[in-house]
């Protein structure tokens, strides 16, 4: 029953445990295999920011574009990664915690972001309840997939 789920693996796999999805409010927790504690999120923007923060911490997937700002002449400063290892360099040695058994009250997604190109993310999103995997080429698409999948449960029109 959980074959597909058990085969799901990526060093940067993020679990999104959705505990609430109502009236546009998305709340839950973000989990990954290198930490026992979860990171709660409140709202779509918060989810995206926290996921991106994690990818930036790992420097994986490496982003291919610099962040823009309304300040046109802002000098770009490369993030200081002194003492920080990139995830691919240390994933083999880090202690790992099982995450694929964790569930959100409303829905559970596992996201494997493979690339960060075009100022967005590309990868696959796996929905546990459907045992279905959907590719995405942008964060926008990823969110649309999550919304569509959760609305199915709520019996709403897509």
């Amino acid at each position: 029953m959980e074959n597909q789920l058990e085969r799901l693996y990526a060093i940067d796999l993020l679990g999104i445990l959705v505990h609430k999805y109502q009236d546009g409010q998305l709340e839950g927790e973000i989990i990954h295999q290198y930490k026992e504690e979860s990171t709660p999120f409140f709202g779509v923007l918060d989810l995206i920011k926290k996921m991106e923060f994690q990818y930036d911490e790992w420097d994986y997937p490496q982003t291919s574009t610099r962040d823009r700002s309304f300040r046109k002449r802002e000098k770009y400063s490369y993030p200081n990664r002194k003492g920080k290892k990139r995830l691919p360099d240390e994933a083999g040695t880090l202690e790992k915690f099982p995450i694929i058994q964790k569930r959100g009250k409303v829905s559970t997604f596992f996201i494997h972001t493979k690339y960060r190109q075009n100022a967005t993310w590309q990868g696959d999103i796996f929905r546990v309840e459907e045992e279905a995997c959907f590719p995405f080429k942008s964060v926008l698409r990823m969110l649309q997939i999550m919304d569509r999948e959760m609305r199915k449960d709520q019996g709403k029109d897509a």
Binding site: I48, K49, R68, F70, A119, S138
Partner: protein, 64 residues
């Protein structure tokens, strides 16, 4: 980012293209009369969020 201060702002979003399954265009921050191009919906959100959360943002600091 964890500030409880209520910030607000007005943004005008012009979506000019929809490539790579996302949006490309220009977002204008009305209060500061500043605009910036975005290459994805994510970038647009980050621009708006940074504008709303950044502590001090100079006005009219440079010419277009």
């Amino acid at each position: 980012m964890d500030s409880k201060e209520i910030r607000n702002g007005t943004f005008i979003v012009q979506v000019k293209y929809t490539e790579n399954e996302t949006w490309q265009g220009k977002v204008t921050w009305a209060e500061k009369n500043k605009s910036q191009y975005f290459r994805s919906a994510l970038e647009m959100l980050k621009l708006m969020d940074k504008a709303l959360t950044e502590e001090d943002f100079p006005d009219e600091e440079e010419e277009e």
